[in-house]
Amino acid sequence: MSKLYTFLKYFFITFWTVFVVAPFLWAVSTSFKDFQSVNSKVTYIPWLDFEPTLEGWRVLIKSPAKGGVDIVEPYFNSIFVTCTASLISIVLGTLAAYALSRFTFKAGFVRNNDITFFFISQRIMPPIVLSIPFFIFLSTIGLLDSLLGLVVVYIVLLMPIAVWIMVDFFNRVPKELDETALIDGCNPYQAFYKVVLPNSIPGLIVAGMFCIIFGWIDFFFAFILTFTEVQLLPVKVVALNSSITPWWSLSASALVSVAPLIIVAFIVERYLSKGNLSGALK
């Protein structure tokens, strides 16, 4: 029984790992190929099957004038937009979540839960519904095709995630903890940043991770709200796939665009394995 179990366990883990990792390996190998090795026949092993070349990587940093695709600027645009929007979303979202978790709001029939749901409802809507209002809004205030405009839109997209995760997290932090801080001489602001916040780091990390992921992978709004001035990485990568697809540079750019998420995943994984995310408070 236990032997069979062990066998099946490793069998499925291996199967799944291959399933997940194989496309990556394929992308890595393709990124070092040239036109010949991609189009003539199926090749696998560098040096034996095909002669590896750095051409696919080189065009990524070459300017279009010299026949390159230059993803450096979109790359930094993406980093800037994602980080700025995530940071603002986390700061505002955490404050909003704390207020929703600790204070009682009443306005007509609106209560705390309704406000929380209002935040989440922004994510329930299909993005296409929001695209036209956003387009008109940004063009009215003159922020279409600009980094600032994208940051504004991404805050709208990301803050619900931060609020949602942090409300749930703060609800699990006993109210008595804040009260004890007040009794021990903290004013409400000190209670928040000296006691509640240090105990919410796991929640902040999870919320931050989701914001970064959802901000980084967004294609739809980056595509609709930008034209020539500003380009974000996902749009640039997809644009490579035109009439004649340069599979080598497409693979290379796909790899560099997932790299930041892999780094984020490794950082979060360290927290997960330390057990810091669960059971910090019981």
Partner: protein, 359 residues
Amino acid sequence: MNLIGEKISYKPDEQFHLNDVSFNFKKGNLYTILGRTLSGKTTLLKTIAGLLNPDQGSISFEEKDFIKIPVWERNVAMVYQQFINYPHLNVYENITFPLEQRKLSPEQIKKDVDEALKTVGLVGFENRKIQELSGGQQQRVALARSLAKKAKILLLDEPLVNLDYKLREQLREEFKRIFSEGLSQDTILIYSTTDPQEVMELNGEVIVLDEGKVLQKGPAKEIFENPSNLKVAEISNDPPMNVLKGSKNSKNLNFENISLEIPNHFKNLEDRDYNFGIRASEIKLDENGEEFEIELAEISGSETLLHLKRGNSKIIALIEEVMNFKIHEKVKINFNANKFYAFGEDEKLVSSPYGGTNG
């Protein structure tokens, strides 16, 4: 110089959490608030701490209007029934937290913390994380934090209720020592509990609270001996005092077709209907006694609790040994008539075996 509360009411929803509560707490004394769950104990303590503002009434301390002072400037200390400590700090930092908040000198902080750690018996645990401690130790940390503050008002909200039986007994003993040694004569100590035994052991001034109302105030002994009404008699005894509806005539006490001789302290009582009260421990098994049917028998520690029934009356008897009974078995019991209480039909105390009456 006392902590005085006058006519405090708090009614956040349909029901009163506090209903016209008044008190006068003197420095250097221990006050216990006895009441069942949801009787308003925690609300009262939170109101004193400043976490809740009453709808009506006033609280003053050292001649100042306490309600106008925010929580963080009141200099009170509170221990919750849940073990509330700061999870991101270790034991030592937990205790220094309020002292650093008050910007005391490092030497003073060290001295106060060491003293508090010694009082609660946690020397050597300074660098432990809170999560590594047992429930009892966590509660000691919370207590140490409260003691180190040297607050003038120390509030303990059912501090032992979430501990297991053994630890509760042990910590209760230590509390008595800590309260007598570790506190200055300046401190007002307010301790809330559901457990009558704790009240008797701590032996302070008692306030019996029910549905937000003060039912009786007085020394522990007085509450135990002369509960002013049936409700107090139920709340201040564990198991609750048994109530038997019956009557007195010139010769006997009668209830459920049982006649008892009139005890001495009932001699002057008017002949009419009464609610008789008798403690579970004053009922004994007796071959020549009255027959009751067993509804349930629970063994707790070295005692057996018998839930008995006869006619419309249900009573609980406390037998001081472990015995096995079958359900629906008949047993014969005897009442100690000298320990009978008489409550009027309005549930007020009329006569007690300790001589107290209610007017």
